[in-house]
Symmetry: none
Subunit: 198 residues, 4 copies
Amino acid sequence: MGGSTAPHRGNRHGRSEEARQAVLEAADDLLAERGFAGVTIEGIAARAGVAKQTIYRWWPSKVDVLLEAFTEDMAEHLTPEDHGDLGTELRTHLARLAEFLTGSDPGAVFRALAGQAQHDPQLAARLRDDHLSGQRDRDRAPLLRAVERGELPADLDVDVALDQLVGPIYYRVLVTGSPVPRTFTDDLVAAFLHRHQH
Amino acid sequence: MGGSTAPHRGNRHGRSEEARQAVLEAADDLLAERGFAGVTIEGIAARAGVAKQTIYRWWPSKVDVLLEAFTEDMAEHLTPEDHGDLGTELRTHLARLAEFLTGSDPGAVFRALAGQAQHDPQLAARLRDDHLSGQRDRDRAPLLRAVERGELPADLDVDVALDQLVGPIYYRVLVTGSPVPRTFTDDLVAAFLHRHQH
Amino acid sequence: MGGSTAPHRGNRHGRSEEARQAVLEAADDLLAERGFAGVTIEGIAARAGVAKQTIYRWWPSKVDVLLEAFTEDMAEHLTPEDHGDLGTELRTHLARLAEFLTGSDPGAVFRALAGQAQHDPQLAARLRDDHLSGQRDRDRAPLLRAVERGELPADLDVDVALDQLVGPIYYRVLVTGSPVPRTFTDDLVAAFLHRHQH
Amino acid sequence: MGGSTAPHRGNRHGRSEEARQAVLEAADDLLAERGFAGVTIEGIAARAGVAKQTIYRWWPSKVDVLLEAFTEDMAEHLTPEDHGDLGTELRTHLARLAEFLTGSDPGAVFRALAGQAQHDPQLAARLRDDHLSGQRDRDRAPLLRAVERGELPADLDVDVALDQLVGPIYYRVLVTGSPVPRTFTDDLVAAFLHRHQH
DNA sequence: TGTTAACCGAGACGGTACGTCCTGTCTTTAA
DNA sequence: TTAAAGACAGGACGTACCGTCTCGGTTAACA
C-alpha cells in the first residue's frame, strides 16, 4: 500500500473507498450469519454505517454487492500450478476447488450467487461471463499444457473433459450436499487419466 | 355418486380439491411467467381466486407450494427402463434426465427449487430427502442390475459412479448453462463403460 | 350507533376503530409537541402502534389525518346560541371564536391546516367546502334571525357583513399574531351595530 | 457599496451577484410552477446552475430564499400616497393591497410564506418584524395624517382601526379564497368612515 | 509576479421520510 | 370445518431531499 491513498469522504474525485470496503464486509458478514435472505440493503447499510443511497449509488442490487465481494475474495485462490505432471496438477487443483466450494467463506458466497442465478438469467450470464469464465480458463490450463506435452491426445475436447472432471464436484456441492473428500476428487482424476492416457 | 367430489366453496367436509389445484397451477404459471421472485403468496392467492389464509392453512411457505407442484409433475418422468443392456439403459436414461432438466416445465421448477435450496439448508435437506432420493434410487437401478448380471464389478462404488455419470449434466444445467446434447450424455456413458467394463 | 360497535381488529366488516382513534390521537399529539413538520406518517404509525399501511389505507396523506382529527374536535364548539338579542349573540359568538382559534388544541390544528392550505389549493378547497362552510352557516344564523326580527335591514349583504365581523379576528390569528381580547371582538360588534342599526 | 458590483465569479471580495440573482429567480419560478412543496434546495440549485453549498452559504433555509425574493419584489408596491383626503387614500390603498395579495407574483410568495409561518413561529416572528411591520407603518400613515388634520378623533385606536380595515381582506385571501373586488374594499372604507367621521 | 484567500461548481456522504409491496396472523360471514 | 375476504402489525424496498463535507478551479488583492 504505497503511501497516501488519502481517506476522503465524499468529494469530486469519486467514491469513498472506506464506505466501499465497509459495505462489502457487511454484506459478507450478513451472508455468513443470516444467509442470503438475511442480506438486505437496509441491513448492509446499518451494519456498515453507511447510507442506503450510498449503496444504491454504486451497486444496482444486493447481488451486485455480493458479486463484488466474491470477486475480491476469489482472485487469489484456485490458480492451478504448473508441475509438469498432469496427474499431480489435476489432483491438487480439484482438491483445492472442492475445498474452496465447500469450506471457504467465498465458497459460501458463490453458492448463494449460484442459487440466485437460478432465479435470474441475467445474473446467471453475468456470473458466467464475468466471474467463472476466468476460472474456467485457469482450469483449462493443465489440460492444454498436457496436450502440448503429448500427454493427452491432440483431438481431446477440452470442454467436455473439464465438465467430466469438475461437474461431479459442483453436483455434490449444489445438489446432493455430500462432502467432497480427497478420495472423490482423486478418483475423478484417475477415471480421466485411465480413459485418455493410452 | 360415490363420496364427495362436489365442487364446494367452503364447507364442513374437508379441504377443497378445487382450491388446491388452483393454487398449484397458479404457482406454476407465475414461476413460468415471472420467475421465482414473481411467485408470492399474495400473487398466487389473487390468481387462484383463493384466500391467502387458505394457502397458509395447507402450505408453510411458497416453496412448499412449488415443491408439491413439482412432485406431481415429476412422478411420471425418469424411471429408467429395464432393457437388459447397461449401455442402452444408461444412454437412454441420461438423455431423458438432460431433457427433463433443460426442457420441461417441471425442470424449470426444479432449477428454481435447487437455487432456493442454496439459501435455505432446510429446503435443501427436504429436497434431497423427500424428492431427489427417490430419483436417485431409480437412477441407481440400472447399475445394480448390471452388477448382478456381472457386467460391472461387485465392488463398484455405485454412488461415486452415479455422481460421475449425472454430475456433469447437473453442472451444465446449474452452473455453465451450456446445452446438454445427446453426444454429451453418450460420451459420459462411454467414459464410464470404458473404465469399468475392461 | 346504538349499542355495541364490537371492538374488532381487522376483519371483513371493515376497519379497526381502535386503530383509527390511535392514529388521530397520535397525529394530534405530534402536532402539539413538534409542530406540523414533526407530524410524519412514520411518526404517527410508530406512536400509534400501527402499521404505515394502515394509515395509507384510510387516509391519503397526513393532512387528511389532521383534517379528520380536527373535524372530530370542532363539532361541539362554536354553535352560536339564540338569545333573541343580536348584540349579545354576536359578542358571545365572536369571543368564543377568538378563544377557539387562539387558545384551543383544535384551534392549533386549524392554524396548521390553514397554513398548509396556502401551499395546496385542493386542501384549501376541501377545508372550505367540507369544514368551514358549515361553520360559516352557523355564523350566519344570528344575522339572519336579526333580519327576520327587523333588527337589521332586509337588504343587508350578509356575507360582506360576516367578513367584516370575523375577518379581523382571523387576520390577527393568522397574520399579526396579536392577541384577540374581548375588547377587540366587542369593538367589532359595536362597529357593526353602529353602522347597521342607525 | 458604491457603484459597480462587478460581475465577479469567485474571488476573495465577496459573493457572486450573478449566483444570488439566479437563486432568487429559480426559487420564484419554482414556487410559481410547482408550489411551495416543489421548492427544494436541490431543485433551486439545479435550476439556477449553482452548487447547493452556495445556497447554504448564504441562506439558512429555503424560506429565507423566498423571504429575500419577496422583499425585493414588495418594496416598490404598496406605499399609500398622500392625497390629503382620507377616503380617497384609503380606497386606493386597500384596492392596491387586495390586488397585490390576490393577483401578483409576490403576493403568491407572501401567501406561501404566511402559510409556512403557521408551522413555524420563528418564521412568523421574522415575517412580522422584518417584513410586515414596515408595511403596517405605511398602512398607518393615512390614518395618522387624518388624525393630524382633524378628520379622525385624536383618541382613535389606530391599530384596531387598521385591523378592521385590512383584516377582512386578508381573511378572504387566506381563509375563504373569495375574490376581493373593489366594491368590497370600498365598503370597508365606507363602514370605517361612517363610524369615525361624526 | 507569484501567493494566497474567498468563493465557485460539483457531487459523495450519513441520514430521514416517503409511498409501495409482501409477509404471516387475525377475525368475520357464508356455505 | 373450510372457504373467501380483507384488515392488521411489521419490515424491506427504491426514491427524493436534507444539510455537511471535500475537492479542484477561478479570480483579485497583496506580498
